[in-house]
């Protein structure tokens, strides 16, 4: 109850890394689980979106096109727990001295491996970025902190899950999430979760049975990699080094750092451009980090009101002035 309050500077040097499951009171939890999503190999097939819906019985969320790209779901929400973003990028033509590398090929059918033909690569001034987005399962999760019912809880795997039978639909977690992940399900009528906050559970039920999440299982390119967070972080660093070495200088890891504003995320990403290009916040901070200061300001304000009211009576004792 009331656990997982943001404790700044958990990196007091020399101590074991912050373990959210232990902090939430799980004794002897298994290693923390998470996702490493390597967007550089994502082909935008949306198999993860579909697998997630199938396994978790998430209803469709409108089949209308957004009209902005091939992305028809637009973003995460109460009925979209996995979302594949499509970004069409017009890159400036490569400068003669090499300029910006364009290692990502359009993927049009060619006789050779995509990108293997140096002739072809020279002319690409256009690329598609794809990223399969999901709940970040933050180390310091604002959604969990602000939930007034305890419906959101920390599992033994270090992930964050909503309990449908407790959530009262207050919606407080929705604006609290710095990544814009969780939302109240608004349809279709008759769905048991309408009016309740919904998001990725990191397939809690599957994990409990020793299986991997449905989305990771369905991913044909291993863009979504599931496993122990520590090991994933190492693997990600290796992959990043490789990409940067091969000239993809804007590649970066996003969310992996335990010193970031949310204490590191349980689901982190390898991106080929800045986070905001993919619709991710560049420098998210768990909202409750500033909460002690907020309570202090509110206490000052309350004292001012009490004092002001007292003064109002001293100033104008009784009758008209």
């Amino acid at each position: 109850m009331g656990r997982s309050f943001f404790s700044p500077g958990t990196g007091d040097t020399g101590t074991a890394p912050f373990d959210p499951a232990r902090d939430a009171g799980h004794t002897d939890p298994p290693p923390r689980k998470g996702f490493f999503t390597d967007t550089s190999v994502c082909i935008g097939c949306k198999a993860c979106e579909v697998a997630c819906k199938e396994w978790n019985a998430v209803p469709e969320d409108g089949i209308a096109l957004t009209g902005m790209s091939y992305d028809n779901t637009g973003g995460l929400g109460g009925s979209t727990w996995r979302h594949v973003a499509f970004i069409e990028q017009q890159l400036p033509a490569p400068a003669p001295d090499g300029g910006r590398p364009d290692t990502v090929d359009l993927g049009m059918p060619t006789a050779t491996l995509p990108g293997a033909d140096p002739e072809h690569r020279e002319h690409a001034d256009f690329r598609w970025l794809m990223e399969s987005d999901v709940c970040k399962h933050c180390t310091h999760a604002a959604c969990l902190d602000v939930c007034p019912t305890g419906a959101l809880f920390r599992t033994e795997f270090g992930t964050v899950v909503v309990q449908d039978d407790i959530c009262n639909g207050c919606g407080y977690c929705v604006p609290a999430c710095p990544y814009g992940v969780i939302d109240r399900r608004d349809g279709p009528a008759g769905d048991p979760a309408v009016g309740l906050a919904q998001k990725c559970t990191l397939c809690y039920d599957r994990l409990s049975d020793g299986m991997e999440p449905a989305c990771a299982k369905a991913c044909p390119t291993q863009s979504i990699q599931f496993g122990d967070l520590d090991e994933l972080r190492e693997r990600a660093q290796g992959r990043l080094d490789m990409l940067v070495e091969s000239g993809e200088t804007t590649a970066q890891l996003y969310g992996h750092d335990p010193d970031n504003g949310v204490g590191g995320t349980g689901a982190f990403f390898l991106l080929l451009d800045e986070p905001e290009v993919y619709g991710l916040p560049p420098d998210p901070v768990v909202t409750t980090k500033d909460l002690p200061g907020m309570w202090r300001q509110a206490a000052f304000a309350a004292a001012a009101l009490l004092g002001g009211a007292a003064a109002a009576f001293i100033g104008g004792k009784g009758g008209r002035r």
């Binding site: 919606g171 604006p175 916040p281 509110a298 206490a299 309350a302 109002a312 008209r320």
Partner: protein, 310 residues
Amino acid sequence: MVPDAEFTSYYGRPVVKASPWEADIPAYLFLGGLAGGSSLLAAGADLTGLPRQRRSARLVASAAIGGSLYALVHDLGRPARFHHMLRVAKVTSPMSVGTWILSAYGPFNALATGSELLGFMPGPVRNSRLGRLLGFAGRPGGLIAALIAPAVASYTAVLLTDTATPTWHAAQRELPFVFVGSAAAASGGMGLVAGPLGESGPARNLAVGGAVLELGASRIMQHSMGITAEPLRQGTAGTLHTAATALTAAGAAGAVAGRRSRIASALSGLALTAGSACTRFAIFHAGQASARDPRYTVVPQRERREGRSS
């Protein structure tokens, strides 16, 4: 004016989610403030011997807190599960803290109002054991409610600022002062409307002091918020904000100038109360707008990140 900041986004789609809340929530913020301020007014009137001001302020407080609770429950996606709020107590959740503040405040406030309503009851009811007990409990109930009342009026600011909604979060230092000022203006204003002119001095002081605090804190707030103050000047929020400022300023001026006139006092009180309501709705809508436009999430965060790395 801040120059147009360059930024990229995913097809202009929001980064953070706007709250799913509707008009119920700003109404709840306003009514909570009105209730808190009125309880203070009632307690002061009780202690200084202004019986008619005390009565009206207690009735206003109860009506407001009732309305505020109704709005809160009405806004839930699953209202039938309201009681789950009482499962836990979490300082990290302003909504949980608020629920407990209201749970403590409500019964004491009800005691005060109950003893007031006793006055309208026939003699046998008043003189029954329960009636006498209630009459006796009125003053302590009202005083305890008044001690909790400032918390009722100020915690709602934390409710908004403890979110990733850019305009709300950026207002964290000053918003509690805007809200308590607004609460004092509204409750003082209602004191001018509902109380008799002869007992209106303290209500007038409270109203004018609150209005000054609200307007002043709001100005400082907008200066410190950077680009996230913009939504307060645009669209629905902008209109409401302009109305709030005008109504509050006019109400305060009228309350001072019209202190000898029953009608001028009542009209000023109404303006102050309406101004307070507009303030809550303006802040609410500005936050919603700031969440829908990725600019207000991305630009300040990029600036923060670049400031750190340079």
